[in-house]
Symmetry: C3
């Protein structure tokens, strides 16, 4: 696969600077690019690496237009990088049709060009849209539904009746639709509450590796359109994740909590159950959210607090031992003064 | 599947209020129930939703007996909900007998009505009790033992010689019996300590998705009877989890630590190795327990502290910047007074 | 399998104390050893258990040489324990050759004595070194390379083009080479950045169960020689983990961060992206590292701080409510004194 610099400039709608017929065979980071690669500068701090870079050409913003190297000038170099990377990406893994080494249950409905790899298991009554890909080791329980162009990487488990939309990517090891953690506690044994609900994943969601998204106790757990979830994330039963939210690795959300649209959870952040995070709430890495948060707020620490409040006292914490000493010293002086004063009277 | 309200009242041993022959076809949350569903009120704050609910009938406590709707009155509505949910739950997934598409090793002993799905792997010398279910993608290592009525969801791994009791549920992706993390550290390479022990899971335990429970270095890692474990939980080698404990998602317990009976670990809580948590200890979400805790205590924060101690200073933390200013102001005034006083003498 | 005490002493290069022909059939913990087992004392606090121990013999240091029981005296009893455990460990699981129930793609190259279990999937163009073992449920993507003597436990996923070195152990459920979490954020949808890189795992690495190690966006994610990784650990795209580092369970490292050699991350510790931890940095359990750390430092807490700084103020925290009261009391006294002083003038 190769493209000329002129073709790439046209694709990106960017301004060409340099020879249109320069041949580009790949894209690479600025410090690793070879003379056959294009690279990109999306942050000023990387611009200093340009002089030593062996890259054939650069994708840059207007501020780097005077680079003196073959370049394509675009408004958003990072977005342009994503577009060029898509061009040079290897094609998706595909198995031609349904492998005879896969298990396919009864009453399965499949759209066109469905790709089922060897060693996948498709339960009874499953419905798969056009161009769905199910890789080895995947399990689709009875009556699972999956929309067009969705890709399940190897060893994904989707349990019965869960529904996935279109253009979804689920990475390996992720489990969708395991029972929620619901018990009636008792001294001598906790009674299981059967988890009768499902999971609904809307279109254009991507879910990382080894996540766990539990089915609703009653009703559903829902991940709305365009949400992106990193690795090892836990979503408990009846959680709702609002559209276009970002959940970074190892974050967890407890039962029945509702995240608004465009919420961001940092890595290893946790959110307790039965609360609401408003649209656009940002939760810092490792924060622990214990109550509902209004839209637009940024919270940090465990238990989570408004970012500004935390920053102020966090800066003082190292002075605490000194403050303690100064307090004792003041008390000593005060006692002296009080004694002097008493003496005088 | 349907039941009359009278039948449900009899099943629950509850007091019937309304028509005994009312037909119920399912159970649903109060805001989602249709006129064919029964619902329940287990917390007062949901009672206000009753008027608008379309539910055919309600499971309530004595305090809601005057609801004016068909109802079953019981001492514990939440427990009754669990019982009715069990009634309406779909049957467990079952494969009739041993699929010819499963791999079964030599010398495997199976009880009656064992269910082995396609694409499962059963090692040599495995012993399976009556009605054990092993779903696709599961791996049972050599000489694994599993008691009657235990259910392994898809893609569960149980490594050699581990023992699971009766009526256990293991959710997808969980790994039981991987090597513990044991090395003799060295400057140029850490020497692996072979992990010769096993894992023993006692009766009535439930383990969530994508957990990891390591085998003992010597001896065993043990999860006692009735313990409930959520998703993505880590138990290191030689840990003991006491009966009826609750471990919420993403909690982790380091090597050789012993949790007493009825211990609760909140989500993302961590416990260091080689300590003991007494019976009934409660560890808050995200807490980090660094030393043994006596029975009955509740601890919070990282490093973990008694809950009361933490609550007191945590409330003061936001005042820390102000305290610092007030301290400086006092020092200034003290200097003035001291100067005045010196002047006077 | 059995050995005489004399043979074991010779193997360990230790000093024999007691009958050389004493037969040893296993190794066990001091409180569990039977009269057929050898045990060891690696920490003084276990020495008090020796008198009641039924062990046939002991591996001890010079400080326990006067135990009065059959013993082997060595400089490092813990290391000697690891060596004896290796002797009594059951042999690795092996399948003789390539199972006809495995799927093997086209153009696969295999060394000698490769062991492929039933229900494994080997993609096109995969290269496997001598004595590689691939257990059931494993997936190796196209053009994956695996060095000699590497062992993949069941249900491991290695995605296309990733490279594993020699003598590596990967435990069940781990995913190597899923896409990194890379998106260009947008108000109405986040654009995926195709992840074109790979993962390189160097020789002698061990990786626990249910970990996730993402492929580089461009270039590679790299785990250097001899690194040991516990369960449920997350490594994001383009991370480098320096040789002989230790990553304890549930730790996570965000994108492009570089850990030096011999770094230790405690359990549930997190490290943000695009920073560097110098050689030998130690990060306490649950710490959250937000900026680069120079070589040799120990950090703790979230956000992470030097250990000494933290220990000082952490000890004062419980006094904070009392400090607040004392501060108010001082202010009251100061106001009185000031009033007195004003009165006098």
């Amino acid at each position: 696969m190769e493209r000329t610099l002129g073709e790439l400039a046209a694709l990106l709608g960017g301004r060409l600077q340099g020879p249109a017929d320069l041949v580009i065979q790949g894209i690479a980071a600025i410090d690793r690019a070879t003379p056959r690669d294009i690279t990109f500068i999306s942050q000023k701090r990387f611009a200093r690496l340009a002089a030593q870079s062996q890259a054939a050409a650069f994708i840059v913003g207007d501020d780097q237009a005077d680079l003196g190297r073959p370049a394509i000038i675009v408004p958003n170099p990072y977005l342009a990088y994503a577009q060029v990377a898509a061009l040079f990406a290897p094609p998706r893994p595909r198995w031609p049709g349904v492998s005879p080494l896969a298990f396919v249950g009864q009453g399965v409905e499949m759209g066109q060009e469905v790709s089922i790899f060897p060693l996948a298991y498709i339960g009874n009554g499953v419905r798969l849209g056009d161009r769905v890909t199910v890789m080895p080791g995947c399990f689709l329980g009875d009556r699972v539904q999956i929309g067009a162009d969705t890709l399940l990487y190897p060893n994904v488990t989707v349990l019965e009746r869960c529904q996935l939309g279109q253009r979804i990517i689920v990475h390996s090891g992720t489990v969708i639709g395991a029972d929620g953690f619901g018990f009636v506690p008792g001294r001598e044994g906790h009674q299981k509450i059967p988890q009768l609900g499902t999971v609904i994943i809307e279109d254009d969601v991507e879910i990382g590796a080894n996540c766990a998204i539990d089915r609703g106790a009653l009703g559903e757990t829902r991940v709305e359109r365009g949400v992106k979830i990193d690795n090892l994330v836990h979503l408990a039963h009846n959680v709702t994740v609002g559209a276009y939210s970002f959940l970074v690795a190892q974050a967890g959300v407890a039962g029945s909590t509702k995240l608004g649209k465009g919420v961001a959870l940092g890595g290893q952040a946790g959110v307790v159950g039965h609360i609401e995070l408003g649209d656009g709430v940002q939760v810092a890495a490792q924060a622990g959210v214990t109550h509902s948060i209004p839209a637009g707020q940024t919270v940090i620490s465990s238990p989570a607090r408004p970012h500004k409040e935390f920053a102020k006292f966090n800066a003082i914490l190292p002075k605490l031992p000194e403050m303690y000493q100064r307090l004792k010293e003041l008390e000593r002086k005060m006692a002296e003064l009080a004694a002097d004063s008493a003496e005088e009277h």
